[in-house]
Symmetry: D2
């Protein structure tokens, strides 16, 4: 079956399914997004791509951006960063604080909030102008030269982010932050505020399907081994306490965000980005999960 | 590079590395095994294969057998079994009992002890003569028609398995066992007592590299989708609280046992079995982990 | 106000309050008890006493018996027993198994199930004929020479006691039991099966109001210091995760049982036993708690 | 034996015991205190009192001040405050954050840090000028009209109080604070910075030995019932995860602070304050605990 046809057919089918779940309501700005938005874009390694639905509309990629911060920290710091943050799945949300305590302040992986904060701390200590330099890095591997942080979303998160403030101070109390919790949280909330379209995001993350090589086929963003390892991390840790479920049903490395976006990678083939704002009770896009499950079943394309 | 050469070179290199860790001592019988044993066998889908070192010597496959019990339960029970046991990684060993409590007796996945017990319970309820029928199933997909349970290893585990008895009774207290803890534990300890050589085991598990099809290319042991899902489960849950590490460094779905064996699968290509009895502090074979990491780095073969 | 009048007035008032809660249903035998039973007996140090309601009817004292086993183990073993079991409250039921793990198998106190099992283990190792000798000890300090274990209640608990079996094996796995879990559980279930009337129990426990001296004023059951310490333990640990609440509202050291009995002690003054089978959601007698709260408020008698 | 003689003899004896433990080092200011200070003052209900050693030297009472904040909140808010904070012991420090999560942001009791923060929040919402009004309240029941917050200690705690900031924000995330975490923490750190002498503190807390009545015998600070209940809370929750141990060995309601002070109350009799800066590994004064244990053993005065 033709990919374009498959995407269109599935988009139509799943759009018709009654919505379940609701938008992330704890971040005020996200609760204003039209919950019926539904876009998909698949970017091929050969430069081609195809989109369906609202794939050209910018949305808040939220935690998907943690793949970018981890990429830059890994690129700059090499294997040394794994002494500050682990590579293991975290089990349940339920015991996140307990786990941080029993692990003496070393977060389980860079994709849970605590781990992403430690990555932010590493970047702050490494970059001269952290927020500007990180943005510049993302722009170089993106087609979107006008990319910028969404100040109102970052502020919106800050106002209600008591749990994140708690996490960040707990890590600091274990001496696993070099910078102040305020600086780390400021970077963290800005990182999560990035907005782009399904198409921009799918193309941006193609380097993970391309052994670390940028779209231009010239810039080596990550080494082959590093690129595979980021995929491995997404496979085991990309969906909080639904990581096993996604791996089980979809069979691709991926990363979700509470804005309703899901990124998935088929190494050597493509990157795909699905966006639908309503979340299931694990905080992942309800229709996004469904779409990707049916897509890999239909096309029989998975890493397994 | 030729596979045979790669295996031999790595075997020589890693054999020379000073041993770390020690044999599983809590099961008396396992502490009698020669700790310097070191065997590898790689079985190709085309029927070829090659081995190095002690690959023709039988060893206790222990938890690797949980892949077989899960396979048979999945084959017989279909998706319904996932209401009794989850598909999520478990985080740390540290909180296993807590997790079972907060999850109301539903183990996180079929590869941790509690989950394997629930799978045993399902098989006991489904099979007429559980232990005999399960053994017959394994024989039909194996070249080893003389396979049998190792009574002295099973008894050896029973005598000291207070923690497993605790786990099993805790699951029962949550009403997630249909049979008595005694029956479930008897099946469980026998399951873990299976012995085979690296070659036998690598060939036995080839169905997971072969989309669920047996070696004879005729018997469909699992459907394509089921086979991929077992691989996905091994990817996220195959190495207890070192599952992320294995995925990160080796990049293949796999399963370890405290006997020192590690199984890994490259879908559509091969199954490999490494055996070296000394364990690291997470309970996985120290040299087995090392061998597979270097092997996939050298051959650039991983699912990512 | 006269004590007899106070008891009668409160008994009438609280009997009229609509029942809340239900009998312990997990022990089949206890669910057959008439839920409307309601008895109180207060025994004075001077030998006098007065009862109201069903105070002459035998009931299953259940965990109240743990005060007796702790008394005998303390008497025989002295302070050394506190290396095997702690003297701290346990926080919530919720984390009991986790706590036992983090405390490496040393139960928090002798009144939670795990701690009572360790006390049973100590008695089994110390006494020649544990069950007989313990019963003989209780008879010597009791007026009830016909006291015996209730076999059908002990058996009833054994049949459904999966969680207790789990706890006991977990302690054994930490090497904090000298005897087999089967022996310990057998003693434990028999201990909890003792039956007596409110009057018998109140008189039996008078030694705790009498600085350790038996009713006959001759036998020193515990030393002064030991007796005070058992009271202190009841004060902080006697009511599972409602110990603080009882201390806060009633202000007396005490111990409850799932049979619906509650013992409370006013040092140098009296022992009181209230029995009403319906339990609140913490597993303590609903009307028993209410009665004692109002009783100490009315009589302004508490240790504080 | 005469009380004065007893105090002096014990002070001499315990002063000679080699020091164990060390000063609270996480609060920089406290690590400058002379670790050999050792003072005791016992204040009788009849107005008499006697002191030994450094009983007239001001020290930081730290968490002992939580008894004062709880007293004022209870006086002003009545029983309603117990819907915001519990009356149960907390088990171990180990699971404090986990417990707060499982209890949905309701701290276990007003004497652990999280509970004291909720009490501060209640006072901030109730008082017009919280810090000034609270100080005025303490002055009215104290002989020390020059009492003031120690700004340098409060600041010293703020600078390193990452764990307390984490706790406070976690409570806020559960919606159990009406005011901002910054305001609550500012009050909290000031509360804990109060300094007074053993004599001042012992006399100040006499109302808890006096059924809630102030020293002047005219002002009812708390009702009889409230006063008993504060004592009950100290008995079960006054010493973090050593509350059971203190109750067991000393047998009096009390409260400790990391400045090395310990308050204990014998209802209807006296209040005693011991101060020695070196702490045991539970965070309670090493010699303070020892002194009080020997004192109640010697004088046979306990509530049990």
């Amino acid at each position: 079956m033709d990919i374009k046809q498959a995407l269109t057919a599935l988009h139509t089918k799943i759009k018709a399914i009654p919505h379940k779940g609701s938008r992330a309501s704890y971040i005020p700005e996200l609760s204003h997004v039209d919950p019926n938005k539904f876009g998909v874009f698949l970017a091929h390694l050969d430069g081609n791509g195809c989109g369906v639905g609202d794939y050209q509309e910018p949305f808040s990629i939220q935690s998907i951006a943690k793949v970018l911060s981890t990429t830059l920290a890994y690129k700059l710091g090499g294997e040394s960063i794994w002494s500050r943050v682990g590579v293991e799945p975290s089990g349940t949300a339920f015991n996140s604080l307990l786990q941080l305590e029993s692990d003496l302040g070393i977060p389980r992986n860079p994709f849970i909030n605590s781990g992403a904060m430690v990555i932010c701390d590493i970047l702050i200590s490494t970059l001269e102008n952290p927020k500007e330099d990180f943005l510049a890095f993302v722009k170089t591997i993106s087609n979107n030269k006008s990319l910028k942080y969404s100040t109102h979303i970052a502020e919106s998160e800050k106002d209600v982010g008591f749990r994140n403030i708690a996490l960040c101070n707990l890590i600091k109390s274990f001496d696993n932050l070099d910078n102040s919790p305020e600086e780390v949280l400021d970077f963290y909330f800005n990182l999560c505020s990035l907005e782009m379209t399904c198409e921009e995001a799918a193309r941006l993350f193609l380097y993970l399907a391309n052994d670390g090589l940028a779209l231009d086929q010239k810039t080596q963003i990550l080494t082959l081994s590093q690129s595979k390892r980021i995929n491995a991390l997404m496979q085991t840790c990309g969906f909080y306490d639904e990581s096993g479920e996604f791996s089980f049903k979809v069979g691709l490395p991926g990363k979700s965000g509470v804005g309703g976006g899901i990124l998935a990678i088929l190494p050597e083939k493509f990157a795909i980005l699905v966006w639908s704002p309503r979340l299931n009770d694990k905080g992942n896009s309800y229709k996004g999960m469904l779409f990707l499950e049916e897509f890999t079943t239909l096309t029989e394309q998975s890493i397994f």
